[in-house]
Amino acid sequence: MRPSSLIRLLALLALGAAAVALAACGGGSSTAADVPSTAEAGAGAGAPDKVEGTPVQGGTIVYGTDREPTCLDPHNLGDMPQTYVARQFLDSLVSMQPDGTVVPWLADSWEVSKDGLQYTFKLKKGVKFTDGEPFNAEAVKANFEQTLDPETQSSTNLVYLTPIYKSTDVLDEYTVRINLKRPYSPFLEVLGQAFFGMESPKAMARGLQKNCLSPVGTGPFIMKKWTKGQSIELVRNPDYNSPPADALNQGPAYLDGITWRFLPDSSVRYSALTSGEADIIFNIPPEHFEAAKNDPSIEVQEFVHAGLGHYIILDNSEPPFNDLKVRQAFTLAVNTPAAVESAYLGAYPSQTSAITSGTPFYTDKYDDTFPYDLAKAEQLLDEAGWTEKNSDGIRTKDGETLTIKWPYSSEPGDVPPAELTLYQNIQAAVKEAGIDLKLVPMPQAAYYEAFNDPSEYDANASYWNSPTAMVMYITYASENYDIPFANASKVKNPELDKTLLAAAAADPDDRATQAKLYEKAQKIIVENAYALPMYPEQTVLGINTDLKGVWIEPSEGEPVLSDAWLEG
């Protein structure tokens, strides 16, 4: 199973000048098809065109998942488990498609100003929050303001809003304009995440203490009761009238309710599915993956998240990784596919690209830039001056040994056994090239501190889920060099900065220009070996075949259950 996931993210700060832009209403039919050499994004995600069978009304299901959020208001913090459950009771302004375009949701249509700085949304009329409050322009404004309020402690705003958000203008009851400081072409897909789900202003005004327990949205289900350590009870919203344009069911949910059950032990979770105690589970454990696929009573849905995936940050600011040849040699020596395969029993694909194959504008062109090649790795290390070897077979240069310090959190929730096996596989592989990789377990809190101090690490595992390729900007831009948890690879590359800023300034509808720029960014990152990609974040849903119509939305991999029904 995946490490207990953390946060996804991305921030973005676009600079510079103008961009054209304008309405992208109503359409998932954009220009993605014309984009050259860009693989289809959001693998495994998106609404199906059609589901066999006739939907049946009624029934309650049990959804078994691993991690429990600490707060159910997804504006607080920004942890993945929050979005999965929030999707069930909150609606967002727009709904993202696998190719990165968006379709209407709470917003019927929108226009983007030519300079890319003003997004004007026409809102759906007649929508009510489940506490009776009306959904309107004032409510949208209140949501942005609450998210930006420091007391909300949102990490989403830091990555997606603070760098670009200027203000919100209420133009009339159902028209709202968001003003940006800088153009930011992925703004719409970012808003599709449940992190930007719209909540009742009245409920938000109660403060976090109440809103964490019982957030109120306009969604297909209503958050009813949260028994910590056990489950969240969700009941059907009988008045639901605001499904996204891509939903198959344009009315209230078919199901009467969902029990959102926390089953942290992965074998318990899988047994709950096979015994029928759960109708659907999040993340089938790798050891049961094959069995599940061969079980005719289980449907397996796989989804590759957009973002950077799981990767190893290499500290570019200090020896030994401030030397391009050492970074390249390290990458060549690792044999990522074999390391991932052996650690995760073939359940996860490996990744050798800067962004995951599930990310809009991903290209597979640079996947084979550094295939496993020990001889070449040795040669590069020789060229870099690491020519001597000590008695342990570790390379040395001017009396220094080639040692990589790699701290990790000793919390098994953060680094589960399979993940640690992966680290050890990498450790064993690079030893062949004479690199001494030291894995340093640390208590969680100490680890987070070390994360912000490059002198504490040479290598460091991390991951980012984000709906947009612009995530590369937050983790590699010079502008974010000193921001905690952002540019942890300590990269300063003006050409990369320029390329990504140009993509941010592009017309959101001009997919071809963005594709070209994002491709160039991926090339720069891979060729400079700024980081070592490992594997994409993946969601694997196991679904009893009696439960029909479940799909995974592509911005954060949230399961969509408003289209689902229980058969017979």
Binding site: P150, Q209, K228, G229, A272, P443, Q444
Partner: protein, 333 residues
């Protein structure tokens, strides 16, 4: 039968009668309890204080948030993390004295709410486990002790085996066999009654091993004591000797052990609650420790300290009930 009588458990003969008034004893007990709680709170506070890590980061999402410096500053301001440690300690003790345990860093809820919500399932689990442990231990003793060397050895061997079982392993085995394979119990029952059996057994079996061992030793010793002999001489049936006279005598060390068992079940609950997906304090405590959620850690620590105080009191009372010899001394002690 070489032991001298009445050494094993004190009793009136060894204890000079004390002439203190009961309310003095009660007051002393109360002060002792407060001191224990205060010490527990203080130790928890300073342990968290010296452990590495930034509390602002735990507020901003422990399990992996990536907050901005501005947010970290705002939280430090809001929670007063930048103030001198003694200031914060003084405020902490002041709040505690008023029953205010503060607000959880993780859940943003008052700690008392978090604990109130979670305390029930853990207490039920703890009580039922200790009850199971006692039933198993007493049954094992009655069935096998004093019935010849072979039966006794088998009983004693089983107890040693159970006492050595790691709870994590035992929990998984019980789960796999009785829930996954045989389907006798739900896999994900949560707090339902049928879902209580396996977690309670997970905690009870090792405990029964420990309690059984001491009870058996005491039981076999009791069988050879003069009071057993004199009962037999009075014509009391062997069954009655075993059940009424010797068993009562043999319970005392097990009762002492039960005080310790409360602690053992709480640490075991941490594992059991995760495996069996039960809500409860153990799970919350582990999460709180790893997320450095100081208010919750302190709150649960205090509650456990209070439970210990109460349990030790109960153990003393049980002694009196089980061993009539102590009544006169306790009445004035």
């Amino acid at each position: 039968m070489s032991e001298t009588p009445s050494i094993t458990h004190g009793g009136v003969l060894e204890r000079p009668p004390r002439r203190r008034l009961p309310w003095q004893t009660a007051l002393k007990r109360l002060l002792g309890a407060i001191a224990v709680m205060w010490a527990a709170a203080t130790i928890a506070f300073f342990l968290q204080e010296i452990s590495p890590g930034d509390p602002a980061l735990s507020v901003l999402g422990g399990s992996g948030a990536r907050p901005s410096q501005q947010q970290i500053d705002a939280v430090n301001e809001q929670y007063g993390f930048n103030r001198p440690v003694l200031d914060r300690y003084a405020e902490f003790v002041g709040d505690l004295a008023q029953g205010d345990l503060g607000v959880s860093y993780q859940y943003k809820q008052p700690v008392t709410d978090v604990i109130t919500e979670q305390v029930g399932p853990t207490m039920v689990l703890m009580t039922v486990s200790i009850l199971f442990a006692w039933i198993i231990a007493v049954a094992s003793t009655l069935i096998s002790a004093g019935h010849g060397r072979l039966r006794s050895s088998v009983g004693s061997g089983l107890e040693t085996f159970f006492a050595g079982l790691p709870q994590y392993w035992l929990g998984l085995v019980l789960l796999v066999v009785f829930a996954f394979e045989l389907g006798w119990f739900p896999v994900t029952g949560g707090t339902s009654l049928d879902a209580l059996i396996l977690p309670a057994l997970t905690l009870a079996l090792p405990l029964a091993g420990f309690i059984g061992q001491v009870t058996r030793d005491e039981f076999e010793r009791g069988l050879r004591q003069p009071f057993a002999l004199s009962a037999r001489a009075r014509g009391v049936s062997e069954k009655e000797v075993r059940w009424r006279h010797v068993l009562r005598h043999a319970l005392l060390p097990g009762i002492t052990l039960s005080g310790w068992a409360v602690g053992a079940t709480i640490s075991g609950a941490v594992i059991v609650e995760v495996i069996f997906a039960r809500p409860g304090l153990g799970r919350i405590l582990v999460d709180a420790v790893s997320a450095q959620d100081l208010p919750v850690v302190v709150g649960i620590t205090l509650l456990l300290a209070a439970v210990y105080v109460v349990v030790n009191l109960l153990v003393d009372l049980l002694y009196v009930i089980v061993d009539p010899r102590m009544r006169s001394s306790m009445a004035v002690a």
